[in-house]
Symmetry: C2
Subunit: 464 residues, 2 copies
């Protein structure tokens, strides 16, 4: 790398107000929300504002053999967007526009830097929405694409993968290409859109995203159901999914997590004291319908269903409390972080195996003298656990046991956060070597010099 030349070239591409150089970076650009930050000084942080600028940056990185780390809004939880020493962080903060909404085809074209909150606000007047709902609304769509983000509405609406129909990509050599398009089905060659989804910035730079939208449903109800036993709450889930009620959220919170998040939000849900005293866990169910009559009927049928399987009570929350509860749920990670949590996992298992997984997780935690608490998208089998065990080595051993058990149930290590740097150890240790090898060869097709987001996911080389 010729530092002076690269510095001048980068300034030529984006202008000197859209790039910082070491050691003058904004510290906010140098980390995501991983619990295991490692402070690294990249050579530069650039903020391109067009695909052409991104392509020029890629060509410079290739020419100089410098690593590129794409960055959305830095809300990732697995160290997927943290810089590499001497590398270039490509921040998409300025490429944050909604380029078009098509209200006939229910499609939107966005730049990767737009946040979920911005997208939702811009879509609201159209009666359409992007139905995927990862908790963190300040997350960028580019980040969502790269982690295949899921979230609370996945039980009905699926995950990012199911709503992205086309991408504009910049390859590491600066080539710009488009995959897919504004159509909802295709059988015309290998689906490169799907391949890039969830690839954590290691295959290409995403510069434009075509999203499938859905009509907003005008009527909704949030139902809170306390249970005396965590296993009961998770056991009732398959029958709710089988009912055809099609809840748009189906979340569980153990009583510790519920207490912590409602306490942090000063939120009173109106659960009677005598019930609250018996409660070990809550199920939160959101129903959304086209008509008020249908909602009334669905809520009644849901109440009958859960009362038949051990619910202590059923509360239909007033809409303000419902909104605040969902917002508080979104903040669960931050509450755990402020409580000093040492690690979080977002393992996914078949939803009927959640009780078994949680039982074994409790036993594993006890064996390691760790404390765990959790909540999760239980309709998807996606369990979020906060793990309190400060000793790194013992905690890593515990995590490996947890993941290993989850995999024997048919699970996967991450349901929505991605592998990043934080889960590389168990991911590489527990995956089939043939599957890893195929992925490494696909990586080589896109990025033979291993310059795109190195040192994470498949790439276990130590940081330089």
């Amino acid at each position: 790398m010729h530092e002076t030349e690269l510095r001048n070239d980068l300034i030529d591409v984006v202008g000197d107000d859209a790039v910082t150089f070491s050691p003058h970076h904004n510290p906010d650009d140098l980390h995501d929300e991983s619990l295991h930050p490692c402070h690294v000084e990249p050579f530069a942080v650039v903020r391109p504002d067009s695909t052409e600028q991104v392509a020029q940056i890629a060509r410079l990185a290739s020419a100089h053999g410098v690593a590129l780390t794409p960055r959305g809004s830095g809300t990732g939880l697995s160290g997927g967007a943290t810089p590499v020493p001497g590398g270039i962080v490509v921040s998409f903060a300025r490429m944050n526009r909604l380029l078009s909404i098509d209200t006939n085809d229910h499609m939107a074209v966005v730049q990767p830097g737009i946040t979920l909150r911005e997208l939702n606000e811009e879509l609201a007047p159209s009666g359409l929405r992007y139905p995927v709902y990862p908790g963190e609304l300040s997350g960028s769509l580019g980040g969502n694409v790269n982690t295949n983000a899921g979230g609370m509405r996945a039980v009905r609406h699926g995950v990012t993968r199911h709503h992205v129909v086309g991408l504009e990509l910049v390859l590491i050599d600066g080539t710009v290409l488009r995959t897919g398009g504004p159509v909802v089905k295709s059988s015309s060659g290998y689906d490169l859109t799907q391949l890039v989804l969830g690839s954590e910035g290691t295959l290409a730079l995403v510069t434009e995203i075509t999203l499938k939208l859905s009509p907003s449903m005008p009527h909704s109800a949030t139902v809170l159901v306390p249970f005396a036993d965590l296993r009961e709450v998770t056991r009732v889930v398959p029958s709710i999914v089988a009912s055809g009620l099609e809840p748009s959220m189906l979340e569980y919170l153990d009583v510790l997590t519920m207490g912590a998040i409602t306490g942090a939000a000063s939120l009173e849900l109106g659960v009677e004291t005598s019930i609250a005293e018996q409660t070990a866990a809550y199920l939160v169910i959101v129903l959304e319908t086209r008509t008020a009559e249908q909602l009334e009927r669905d809520v009644e049928d849901l109440a009958t269903l859960v009362q038949g399987v051990g619910a202590l009570d059923v509360y239909v929350l007033p809409s303000s409390a419902a909104t605040r509860l969902i917002e508080a749920r979104e903040r669960a990670f931050w509450v755990a972080k402020s409580a000093g949590v040492n690690d979080i996992i977002d393992i996914v298992v078949p939803r009927s195996r959640v009780p078994e997984f949680l039982d074994e997780a409790t036993r594993i935690a006890q064996r390691h003298a760790a404390f765990i608490a959790g909540c999760g998208h239980v309709g998807d089998g996606n369990v979020h656990l906060s793990i309190y065990l400060p000793d790194d080595e013992r905690r890593e051993a515990l995590l490996l046991e947890l993941f290993s058990f989850g995999l024997t149930l048919g699970g996967q290590i991450s349901g929505e956060h991605g592998i990043g740097r934080d889960k590389q150890g168990p991911y590489l240790a527990l995956s089939d070597p043939t599957v890893l090898e195929l992925q490494r060869r696909i990586k080589d097709v896109f990025d033979p010099g291993h310059l795109l987001n190195p040192h994470r996911l498949l790439d276990e080389r130590p940081m330089p």
Copy 2:
């Protein structure tokens, strides 16, 4: 290739009752339903009955440098499963078992040779269904995976891609691996399941498929809506999708196609003569709900909606007529085939562009003195046209114009049939060379010797 040795080895693997050798093949194994059959004698047709046998066959093919053509039930429409001279057809006819149903997790594990009809029948008692509904129920799930089959319910339930969560694969060197699993979300590395979906047998042999199921909805209505103008029928579609009624089918048929398929099925739909005389095209809408009350309400609201936008009338079909109409629609291809159709296309465009596409298609057909008629999954923008023009050269020119125009609208060449051999010309001519090159390099990762289903999709080498 040492013919005698290979012959003996294949017999050793599958037994002599599960293999035929040239020239003693069953002619049914040597073609799919493409309108452009070319008779080719493969060296062998084998019917393995286990993954281990498939792996052994792959190892033999690699060792002898012989092409493998995977084959489901041969219902493909694009020449994707036709043999290669001297090659081995791997028929999955004996690997046709439903291996498991999980009624809690709503998952089924099947072998690739099971047909949609067999799967649906086996699932029926569980109250669950595999909601993807490609017209041809004798099609195999393995074929569906390899073409990413779509069909009539895609407007609500999506396509094969959205319901396959895991695969067992045999690579060309005989390695067996599993991708994904019985979970509905994952962010744990590149999604090899999605990469193989729609790859037309060119990347790996699919030996097991894990499918996500849905609860069957107990109440349904089929609504038939005649319009005086084809453009009107396609223009009303976006407002139906926007209504939140979530139809599970949204099909159009021009009056010629409707006449042909109902005539072929001797089906009387009860449309009054005075209405029928004015009708140019029909919209067929299926609503499915959890409760009878909701269905009644939804049908009323749908009727109000279509009457406000030019419907000539609205007919709620008696359930026997509804079933027969859907079955007749499934047979549209066969009716066109018996009418001597020369080509079919299944282009997909953004659904709001269907009227524009059909207008231009009519003009293009007139210019070429061709006759076209059609129907399609109009909720998906997926237009099926039958093209009557016997001259090959002129027809190819017409097709290239049609596809080229569809692509300018944001479309893709095939919505669900795949490229196979029949659409290679326009696919390779009209695709971005960078996108083709990336796909070819991915192909090389999986199958460096180009032995898996050669001479189709990306591989334009002439047949030997």
